[in-house]
């Protein structure tokens, strides 16, 4: 009687601790977008804007975006074919529908199957998360547009979009 009880307690303790650790790690990790990196992605994409994490859009969006770099939101952002291919591979492999990250999965789930958004700000997830932001805030000089994540999300470049790291500039 005594012995099975000890084993049961032990099993429970180990199980609970393991579960706690796992859920703790999972919880922390899920708040932060997966930190995948690629030197060409960083160098090419971040010369004009923040290097938006691949986990912010699904694979089909990245493929469409990378296929139209010569007309990239009104600008020519064309790349040599080898560089474009490497970046596309990196984006696809870590995309919102493939990264396994919780926030990424929610972004992907908010997009209708037939839709291929090119702007992160077009996704229902983004709109829902920013529905309290009045249009005049987006237009402030230090913000400019929804493309400027790190204007408010101070750790955006580290993939951290948590609410406690938001500071809206005046």
């Amino acid at each position: 009687m005594k012995r099975p009880m000890q084993i049961a307690v032990l099993v429970f303790t180990v199980g609970a601790t393991g579960g706690l650790l796992a859920s703790g790690g999972e919880k922390e990790g899920s708040k932060i977008l997966t930190q995948a990196s690629n030197a060409k992605w960083q160098a090419e994409c971040a010369s004009c804007h923040m290097a938006y994490q691949p986990g912010l859009l699904p694979e089909r969006s990245w493929r469409k975006l990378m296929a139209g770099l010569d007309k990239h939101f009104g600008e020519n952002a064309s790349l040599d074919p080898a560089t474009a291919e490497e970046i596309t591979r990196f984006l696809a492999a870590n995309s919102a529908d493939r990264s396994g990250n919780r926030r990424s999965a929610r972004i992907a789930a908010s997009i209708p199957a037939a839709a291929v958004p090119l702007r992160i700000s077009e996704t229902a997830y983004f709109r829902r998360k920013h529905d309290e932001i009045a249009s005049d805030i987006w237009r402030r000089a230090k913000v400019g547009s929804p493309a400027n994540c790190q204007a408010c999300h101070q750790a955006a470049e580290k993939g951290d979009y948590s609410e406690r790291n938001v500071k809206i500039p005046r």
Partner: protein, 136 residues
């Protein structure tokens, strides 16, 4: 003598990439300009400045010039339309500018297309660089 020491010093700060001095890039553009035009004599910094400041019709209906993003002073920090800082364009203020021929080609290709709606000629590029080199 001075030229020699510059050439030897270059790889020290430019790393192992195919580094060149802006003056070398200017000489290459000059050779290209001579091939393109039999009447070409020399690049003009005055024409280069004018080119930099000339406003043209942008794709969105507004006016666009090199200065739209690089600001009126090419020694100053600029800003992309997506709000990212652009390091100074003038080599006098940013010694990494015009040292990597592939990068120079890439940005002329993109930005000429955006601002002029076509590729730039070697004369335009040379005038532009001649002016940027003259801005101290």
């Amino acid at each position: 003598m001075r030229k020699t020491s510059i050439l030897f010093a270059l790889p020290l700060w430019a790393g192992l990439s195919a580094a060149a001095a802006p003056e070398q890039i200017l000489r290459d553009l000059e050779a290209e300009a001579r091939r393109d035009s039999q009447t070409f004599t020399a690049f003009s910094a005055v024409r280069g400045e004018q080119f930099y400041r000339t406003e043209r019709a942008g794709v969105d209906g507004g006016k666009i010039s090199c200065a739209s993003c690089h600001t009126a002073d090419p020694r100053a920090l600029g800003k992309t339309r997506a709000h990212k800082e652009i390091l100074p364009l003038a080599p006098g203020a940013n010694r990494e500018r015009f040292t990597d021929p592939a990068k120079v080609d890439k940005w002329f290709r993109r930005n000429c297309n955006d601002v002029l709606g076509r590729a730039c000629t070697a004369v335009e590029k040379g005038d532009f660089l001649a002016w940027l080199l003259s801005v101290k």
